[in-house]
């Protein structure tokens, strides 16, 4: 019977700047007391309402995977009041975390299937959590082969370079990076995500695709995938909306009668087609 609006208190353990333009940072948070961390059991794809007490709260996808013990990571782009407060925070500052919220990627349903992860721009945080979870030695054997296609505007914007390099070294995962326009020193693919997906042409049978990124990229990628006759229930994406409570009470993140924060944020394309076009 506890007040659901009171956050767990965590301390900032490390802050890593992810891109050259220095407006995206990954903040690593360590829980002040242990039992809170145990209560905070989450799956990849879920988000949390993190807050700088005194400034406000905002919903951010959890970038760390549950397999990374001890701390949780969030990737935050500097946009509004609260995110700017995050960018101004130093080590040891207090951050409130409420959650985990949302339904997260269906890791049970994905068992025994091939996984195609398509990410664009800085919406790669929950995908990083998913791929790290899948590659963990406890879970890798439950899943088929994994393909990651990750597009960005330019090399400076690519997130999690260290983790991506590790994945490239492994043989049980195929990583395809692309940038929109040619840039010197870039050895991999060039072009928008949709044509690259057509080139890689992942096969739809016994496979689930996870698409996350700016709305334009999602529209074009889904069109391509439908040409490669992917079924709508096999394509999942994670939606974003303005949220204030994150636990289905403040009523503003609804599409039709579904709340993005509790019935989502992960929806299959089939579900999205039933919902009214208002997101």
């Amino acid at each position: 019977m506890s007040n659901p609006y009171i956050p767990y208190l965590t301390r900032v353990k490390s802050i890593v700047t992810e891109n050259k333009v220095n407006d995206i940072k990954t903040v690593e948070l360590e829980f002040k007391n242990e039992e809170d961390y145990k209560k905070f059991d989450y799956i990849p794809g879920q988000f949390a309402e993190i807050s700088i007490i005194g400034k406000g709260e905002c919903p951010i996808g959890i970038a760390s995977s549950p397999t990374e013990e001890g701390t949780i990571k969030f990737t935050i782009k500097k946009m509004g009041t609260v995110t700017s407060a995050f960018h101004a925070s130093e080590l040891g500052d207090i951050v409130g975390v409420r959650g985990p919220c949302g339904n997260g990627w269906p890791i049970e349903e994905m068992k025994g299937k091939n996984i195609v992860v398509i990410g664009g721009g800085f919406a790669f945080s929950t995908l990083r959590s998913l791929v790290l979870y899948l590659l963990d030695e406890k879970h890798r054997k439950d899943y088929g082969d994994i393909t990651v296609i990750y597009g960005n505007r330019d090399p400076g914007e690519v997130l999690y370079k260290d983790v991506l390099d590790e994945w490239k070294k492994r043989d049980d995962i195929k990583v395809v990076l692309t940038i929109d326009r040619e840039a010197e020193g870039w050895t991999e693919e060039v072009g928008f995500v949709a044509p690259i997906v057509k080139k890689v042409a992942p096969s739809p049978d016994n496979a689930i695709a996870v698409v996350c990124g700016p709305p334009i990229m999602i529209k074009t990628t889904i069109a391509v995938m439908e040409e490669l006759n992917w079924g709508p229930e096999a394509i999942l994406n994670s939606l974003e909306a303005r949220m204030k409570c994150g636990i289905g009470k403040c009523g503003r993140c609804n599409i039709g009668n579904k709340f993005i924060c509790t019935d989502g944020p992960v929806f299959s394309l089939a579900e999205l087609k039933e919902l009214p076009d208002e997101y």
């Binding site: 007040n3 500052d93 009470k249 503003r252 009668n257």
Partner: protein, 354 residues
């Protein structure tokens, strides 16, 4: 369970009985409007009123409610939870439609996600409702069309029927039985009083002017999301949101942090919000899924008459008619519902004609 009689002038006695143990709320007149306020002096209670301007939702879900308070000292934050949640409320003079709206609130606040809004639910548990039946419903009331009734006793603890000089007192819930037991000085009700209250109930039921066929509306709304009827419905709306402020079943709220930086302390507060404001769904990136008033007016009606039935197979409207009375542009909900009801029939007529 035998009924009792409460004389109107004894309400002061009833107040003194409970004002120490309960926070006593009753309808009073404030600047010409009837509102539910905590009262100190029983003479302020207004008895001959149709319904309050601001719904009694403002008692359990006040317009500004503290979620928690915090103290900031440079590297640490100390959070203190609400301490006042076990105070007991007593609401006198609540109408059946508003009492039912508390049930809708409790249902909505415990339905989505695996968190329940403990603040509201605990307050609701500590609340005793002494309601009064509506002898003279307004022409804008339509509770009988949405499953309610002017003498609906279910959600009350003690139900009073206004017999003119006296009230017929019926204890409904066990909380109500204890209340009536405490009021030992009440006289027993005679059969003629009980008969009179049944007549009043029947007379009130027949006096309803507005009849709305809600089932067709719910059915029509499922497939009329992009129907041009929404342009007409939202044409003269000025987007003020008073309809949602004064609606007993509107639960949306905004959360803000209010910090007193001079004393390094503050509080996280939730305040009423309305889906009619353009900021309601405006994302920081600038994208706004509902940025025209057509979409916003549609969302309010769909939420109560389509999403509520789809999620909880309850109706999100208790038919109190406040949104009709308060609308500055007199954008009448009954006209909108009539237009939505006709959607199915027009196509049938067209089919029949062609």
């Amino acid at each position: 369970m035998e009924q009792k009689i409460l004389k109107k002038e004894d309400i002061g006695k009833l107040y003194n009985e409970f004002s120490s143990e309960y926070k006593f709320y009753a309808p009073i007149k404030q600047k010409g409007n009837i509102v539910f306020e905590r009262i100190e002096n029983p003479d302020d209670i207004v008895l001959d009123y149709l319904n309050s301007r601001i719904p009694p939702k403002s008692i359990l879900f006040p317009q500004m409610e503290v979620l928690f308070e915090y103290k900031l000292d440079d590297k640490d934050v100390e959070i203190t939870d609400r301490q006042d949640l076990d105070e007991k409320f007593m609401i006198f003079g609540i109408r059946p439609c508003d009492a039912y709206s508390y049930e809708l609130f409790a249902n909505f606040f415990s339905f989505h996600g695996n968190w329940k809004d403990e603040i509201y639910l605990k307050k609701k548990e500590n609340t005793t409702l002494i309601g009064i039946g509506c002898n003279t419903p307004r022409s804008t009331c339509f509770c009988t069309s949405v499953g309610g009734h002017p003498f609906n006793k279910e959600n009350m603890d003690v139900f009073l029927t206004d017999l003119g000089e006296t009230y017929l007192v019926e204890a409904i819930s066990d909380k109500g039985k204890e209340i009536v037991k405490k009021l030992s000085w009440l006289s027993d009700a005679a059969d003629k009083d009980v008969k009179k209250s049944e007549e009043l109930a029947k007379k009130a039921e027949e006096s309803f002017v507005t009849q709305i066929d809600v089932d067709t509306i719910v059915k029509n709304l499922e497939k009329s999301f992009d129907h041009p009827v929404w342009d007409e419905i939202s044409e003269v709306c000025i987007g003020c949101g008073s309809c949602s402020y004064l609606c007993p079943t509107c639960t949306c709220f905004d959360v803000i942090d209010e910090t007193d930086q001079y004393n390094n302390k503050g509080r996280r507060v939730r305040i009423w919000d309305t889906c009619q404001s353009c900021l309601y769904t405006l994302e920081t990136s600038g994208h706004n899924p509902r940025d025209t008033k057509i979409q916003r007016c549609r969302n309010r009606i769909m939420h109560k008459f389509s999403y509520y039935p789809a999620n909880y197979d309850l109706l999100g409207c208790v038919g109190c008619g406040r949104c009709i009375m308060v609308c500055p542009a007199n954008n009448d909900l009954r006209d909108h519902l009539a237009k939505i009801e006709k959607i199915g029939k027009e196509e049938k007529e067209e089919k029949a004609v062609v």
